[in-house]
């Protein structure tokens, strides 16, 4: 327990440093972006029929939400705000706190990503075990190659293909938006059903994108464990197959927890594509929008939130790992 607490403390310390660094990086990158959002906004309003003066004033009011002062002052302000979980105000949302806008979007990213990860994890490790056991057969080969392929193909290719097939060629699934409006939001069958129906393709894309990785990782992990002496020893002691299978599974899954965090990072990164393709109003789309709208505070916030989720996922995965690996629990260094 002490070890876990110590690990947690170490992770938290490192995580906090990391977050500060990322916040700093994103702050400065974001401030050095070229492009004049003010002029763009004026032009946009003019196109919508407002005249120049009015457009300019309206833009001025809008951009009043942007912090002022020297870069350094802004930085100090930003960082001290960060400590209070205040990420500034969004311009495109007319001064709404960035945290609120992010919170709204986050649920549309986090939930599908989690469901997708879990789904692909479950199916992936089962298939991985199978591929490992049948590794010299045709089927194992096909599984492994298809795993590599899926692992290799970028998310947007999967997303586009799924969308083309299931939403366009054979339109059986909704290809955009998160839910239909006509259902009263809440716990009713219609609403939940609509949510689920709209989530199928994005979740499937997340799952497919991650699934290949699981197969590969699980396969190689199982192959390694199968070669371990204790498995043969258990067999020689006449242990039941089911128990031996559990031994293999638990030992093989263990190293996958480190990959879990990595894959979460990958998926969250890929959210931009998937949300763009399926018009899912999550963090990725928000980031993309904020970039085109030059909504600095929002852009920085979205980027930070994505990074922080990955850091947190990393920590959780590691803690989980140490919770089930007795070697780590007792403070021994385990090389993975």
């Amino acid at each position: 327990m002490v070890v876990i607490a110590r690990r947690l403390a170490g992770h938290l310390a490192r995580g906090v440093v990391m977050i500060l660094v990322v916040a700093t990086i994103s702050f400065f990158i974001v401030r050095s972006i070229p492009g004049d959002p003010v002029a763009a906004n004026v032009q946009k309003l003019i196109q919508q029929g407002m005249d120049q003066q009015a457009a300019e004033q309206a833009t001025r009011v809008l951009y009043g939400f942007q912090p002022r002062g020297s870069l350094w002052e802004q930085y100090v302000q930003y960082m001290s705000g960060l400590l209070r979980f205040d990420l500034g105000q969004s311009i495109t949302h007319a001064g709404a706190p960035v945290t609120q806008v992010l919170g709204e979007a986050a649920k549309w990213t986090v939930l599908p990503v989690l469901v997708g990860t879990l789904l692909s994890f479950l199916v992936g490790i089962l298939m991985g075990v199978y591929a490992a056991i049948k590794r010299s057969g045709k089927l194992g080969d096909i599984l492994a190659i298809s795993g590599s392929l899926l692992h290799g193909v970028p998310q947007y290719v999967l997303g586009l293909l799924l969308s083309a097939v299931f939403a366009t060629l054979i339109p059986i699934l909704p290809g955009d938006g998160p839910v239909d409006i006509l259902f009263e939001p809440g716990f009713n069958a219609g609403y939940i059903g609509s949510l689920a129906q709209h989530a199928v393709l994005p979740v499937l894309t997340y799952a497919l994108a991650a699934y290949g990785g699981w197969i590969l990782a699980m396969k190689s992990s199982v192959v390694t464990v199968l070669g371990d002496d204790f498995i043969l020893a258990a067999e020689l002691r006449g242990m039941k197959r089911s128990i031996i299978f559990r031994y293999i599974a638990r030992n093989a899954i263990l190293p996958l927890f480190t990959i879990l965090a990595l894959s979460l990072g990958l998926l969250l990164g890929g959210a931009v594509f998937i949300e763009r393709i399926f018009n899912y109003p999550g963090l990725g789309l928000l980031l993309l929008d904020s970039i085109t709208m030059r909504d600095y505070a929002l852009m920085g916030g979205a980027f930070l939130l994505i990074t922080v989720s990955i850091i947190v996922a990393n920590i959780l995965a590691d803690l989980f790992y140490s919770a089930i690996d007795p070697r780590v629990r007792s403070g021994e260094e385990v090389s993975s």
Partner: protein, 336 residues
């Protein structure tokens, strides 16, 4: 001539800021290995034999004490400056399988250090080839057949010979052989031991022999000295045959008692010594380090640390308050 006084080495578990564990691997060891001489270290697993060997070969630093190589003190020198001195001492690893680079032929393996020397002394390429053949002949290998082979094409014994040949390319003054025969098939073991002895006699190389098999210590030369090491301390030191015949330290006696008796050829010793408990590194450091396991311990042993000394009536140095001869080793039936 290489001597050491009061060599201390403490390992700190790396990478752990909080609550680092310390391992006292060496607690003030003195040694002296004359030119062309031989010394053997024996002791239980984890008592610090390898550590000391690596320190002597310059592969590990030491924390306290003094090491003199041909009269030059190493302590005040920087790592870089120590190197040329330590080059006179070459290490022969326990595992001949990992000691050779699988991607390089014997020729390439020998060529690199020879080329380096040729470069330093302005010798020709022909010299290198000549010398490569020479060192191989020295270790009893046929250069014609061996030079072009890769390690995996050689047997364990041949590999170990190549490893020794490689060490000889730099004309070392001393070879440190760490369990150099323990991983070699029984039928080949003597060959390597004979080779080491032969090299001593022909080239005047001194040999430091690390082993857990006391019997092998005799085979590198009957003029050799034996160091019995226990938990980082030399507990008995003297001529090999003297100690084998008349060990006085209970620890030495335990070690010798543990040697299997070849029933049918040998009769077991009459007074075998068995330690009271098994080795526990975390035991208290007060008094005699062996006290808790010692069947003969006295009052003094738990409070005072005996130091390596010569006492009357005992030809070898020992670190025991109550040295006593016991008949522990098996003797051949033919002698009886």
């Amino acid at each position: 001539m290489i001597t050491g006084t009061g060599v201390v080495k403490t390992f700190k578990q790396r990478g752990k800021m909080l609550g680092a564990r310390e391992v006292r691997a060496l607690r003030g060891v003195d040694f002296a290995i004359p030119k062309g001489g031989a010394a053997s270290f024996i002791g239980e697993s984890g008592c610090g034999k390898t550590t000391l060997g690596r320190i002597i070969a310059g592969l590990e630093t030491y924390d306290e004490g003094e090491i003199l190589i041909d009269g030059v003190s190493m302590s005040p020198l920087k790592q870089k400056q120590r190197q040329p001195h330590f080059r006179k001492i070459q290490m022969i690893h326990q595992d001949p399988y990992s000691a050779l680079n699988p991607t390089r032929t014997v020729h390439q393996t020998l060529f690199a250090p020879l080329a380096l020397r040729a470069g330093q002394t302005g010798r020709s390429r022909a010299w290198i080839e000549e010398r490569a053949a020479e060192v191989l002949s020295l270790v009893g290998l046929d250069p014609g057949t061996v030079l072009s082979r890769y390690p995996h094409q050689l047997s364990g014994g041949m590999r170990q010979r190549v490893v020794i040949a490689r060490a000889l390319t730099v004309d070392p003054e001393m070879l440190v052989a760490d369990e150099a025969v323990s991983m070699i098939d029984v039928s080949l073991r003597l060959g390597i031991l004979a080779l080491l002895k032969d090299l001593r006699e022909r080239l005047g190389v001194s040999v430091l022999f690390i082993t857990h098999d006391v019997a092998t210590a005799r085979y590198i030369g009957d003029d050799g000295e034996l160091y019995v090491i226990y938990r980082g301390q030399v507990v008995e030191r003297g001529a090999v045959d003297t100690i084998i015949a008349d060990p006085v330290h209970p620890y030495t006696q335990s070690l010798l008692s543990a040697i299997p008796v070849l029933h049918g050829l040998e009769l077991p010793g009459e007074q075998p010594v068995t330690p009271l408990e098994s080795l526990d590194e975390s035991q208290a450091d007060e008094g005699c380090l062996f006290a808790r396991r010692c069947p003969f311990r006295g009052e003094r042993c738990t409070s005072e640390r005996p130091l390596l000394q010569l006492t009357e009536g005992v030809p070898q140095e020992h670190a025991c308050f109550y040295p006593e001869r016991r008949s522990v080793i098996a003797r051949p039936m033919s002698e009886v």
